[in-house]
Symmetry: C2
Subunit: 470 residues, 2 copies
Amino acid sequence: MDTRGVLTPQNEDFPRWYQDVLNKAELADNGPVRGTMVIRPYGYALWERMQAEVDRRIKQAGADNAYFPLFIPESYLDRESDHVEGFSPELAVVTMGGGRELAEPVVVRPTSETIINAYFSKWVQSHRDLPLLINQWANVVRWEMRPRIFLRTTEFLWQEGHTAHATRQEARDYAARILHDVYQDFMESVLAVPVLIGYKTEAERFPGAINSMCLEAMMRDGKALQMGTSHELGQSFAAMFDITYLDADGKQAHVWQTSWGVSSRMVGGLIMAHGDDRGLVVPPKLAPVQAVVIAVRDAEGVVEACHRLSGELAAAGIRARVDDKTGSGFGRRATDWELKGVPIRVEIGPRDLEQHQATLAFRTGGEKQTVNLSEVPEQVEAMLGRIQQRILSDATAWRDSRIADAGTQAEVREASSTGFARIPWARLGPEGEAALAEDAITVRCLQRPDGSLPHSSGEPDLIAVCGRSY
Amino acid sequence: MDTRGVLTPQNEDFPRWYQDVLNKAELADNGPVRGTMVIRPYGYALWERMQAEVDRRIKQAGADNAYFPLFIPESYLDRESDHVEGFSPELAVVTMGGGRELAEPVVVRPTSETIINAYFSKWVQSHRDLPLLINQWANVVRWEMRPRIFLRTTEFLWQEGHTAHATRQEARDYAARILHDVYQDFMESVLAVPVLIGYKTEAERFPGAINSMCLEAMMRDGKALQMGTSHELGQSFAAMFDITYLDADGKQAHVWQTSWGVSSRMVGGLIMAHGDDRGLVVPPKLAPVQAVVIAVRDAEGVVEACHRLSGELAAAGIRARVDDKTGSGFGRRATDWELKGVPIRVEIGPRDLEQHQATLAFRTGGEKQTVNLSEVPEQVEAMLGRIQQRILSDATAWRDSRIADAGTQAEVREASSTGFARIPWARLGPEGEAALAEDAITVRCLQRPDGSLPHSSGEPDLIAVCGRSY
């Protein structure tokens, strides 16, 4: 099946390829207000599956969901100049409400640190109230001058976790737990996107954090995408919002806090980490549709057989769907499902039906297979498992082939044109970091030589992973 | 266990009772911007369970979720004066973005009809694109002068469905399907809230709709709460936003549309439909915690036994939780779980453990039971089913006892002081409706004498159900 001409090839113009995928796979459109986006059903189904998987892990980590208001009094944001400095040029401000000018303008939340901490201050009284572990799924707004759908939009969807603990160690451990058990586990085992983990440098740190941990993935153009962050906030918000508790010894103490988030930007990461010139590639564990049963044409019994088989797949726990739109040509429909990255197509035509068989076609790797109808569910299930593993191992091998060890700034620049560079942080230093930044190359994270998370960003002998980024 | 004094009794001051429940059961707080609310973890868990149950039914009805922007250009709302008339005094308007005054102010969505229909106009071209069935879960903002948490807030959470069909009949059938299969089924079988269904009168109809169907529930103070609506929009939005398709005969035609929604107001409905002087009553199918296993005190093996039992309950598919906070008194904790409306408490103390038994205590109806430990999961499961049924039948019997047949306006006024009145619509008419409105009594819905949904609001011999409302 010839799909050339449908998408701009990646190596010709990657940003145009990305835009083509958004359009042709019907993932998202630009909204009417600059920088906003309309997430179409298939794009939203991807996000919903991400949400469900991340949410389950967050709950396993003991955090409870809650919901805080969209509107924040302007005065709340004035409380912390550091924090606000990072956000004020990005704010959307409501000045009219209920037909009148507001006495105090309200800000549309760019993040909820301030408003959540104002309530933490009410809710936390004693050490018995700790740890307080809260998560919120919400839309947030940061006015965006150079928007790109899913990657940088004025409004986006995310979760933001906010926690308060009795000790610094406990807060740090919890931030690391979220990084590993929620984010890394989700990204690697569900998204099949291998991530590098580490600490941000001081220059790249979240305003107000004492330590920012992050997860960085490589896109198919060799650039980095920050997939998620988990911050140790120390006690600065606790001081600002007066979040204190009576400890076991009867003394008042400030809490130690964390915050952490992932967003709809992960949809962009999914597209760019796995996609190819035929469109999206969606790993089976994420896929809203794991197997589509396609009626090749409307001959006797074919459509019925497709629905029956889809029912059997569903009964086997597989997210299956029927394409019986035989009014459109088979080739066109098969191409559309390829564009959408559905892992397996189960094709049934009149001749297949006669011979009690179906043809399995795979989005990634592998030849078509002819399978007896009764064996389709078992075979599809087995293949989905194998495909999931292979997407991750392929992405890992491909990424690793584009990470080079560097000893000089020149070598970092060289490696960053196609992927990431690894250089001892002691050799690069903040001065080298600043010099690279002039060429839009940044330190994505600081990690141990073996790739593990350091105890802190100040640990000796760390490696700086550098690259260009989204 | 004595809980007097914890809550204001319902018959003393119902609005204060409601506010007390919100506070003591830790459901929600007021936000800092007037009219906004903070939904606390337990309140949000109720909403999440509602969302999951409604969402599953919406998907079964064939609609797909999508997400449209929070910000709508002011000009979109100007397109339809009828529609805007209903909303303009309630709008929140963003005039500053990215540090500058905006050339065109943007409105924070009060509902998404306009923006969704602008995209429908792009997406619908041919009869093959129909029906288009879209749902959105989102926050919306309507500036509220007399806010009350969950019932009327400046920001609230909801789902709004928007569909486009080829014929009026298909649109009407789909709006009715959502009313019955999604909303009524959810409210009666999960929330255990009996609802009256019918059409709104012209005076109460949604601006822009040609027919509004609704679901009305009676609260414990005899007042009505509109729990959800499903509208036939006709072709007015299609004309306004130019949503046309090429029909099978090759002619351009406007689509027929519906919209439908339920919101976080249902949490208020849940509280007021079932709550009593001891707090919330949450029906088992909705309950985030169906059974709490309480360690009476921290004697040898008790806490371990509680966790073991909770694991067994979870394995049996029951949403169970352990309360092992033996640092607080047992009575206080039991009262707190009553306040939260948890259907069953499984209490284990040292003596119970010695005798291999536990005590089951029920939030509604029924004496405490002593059950052998090994039989707890089976017994809890059976009781949850019975409790679910009894909450619905009790609520239905109670409501029906407060519905009176009326023949005159005076009788309607009389009945509305304690519940609902039923009067032939032909007898009341729009003039009678206007007269009652002066006393804040409204026609909640028009239905057939047998309570079923009429074919339209113009059908003869309809009954007007009247009452005071939230």
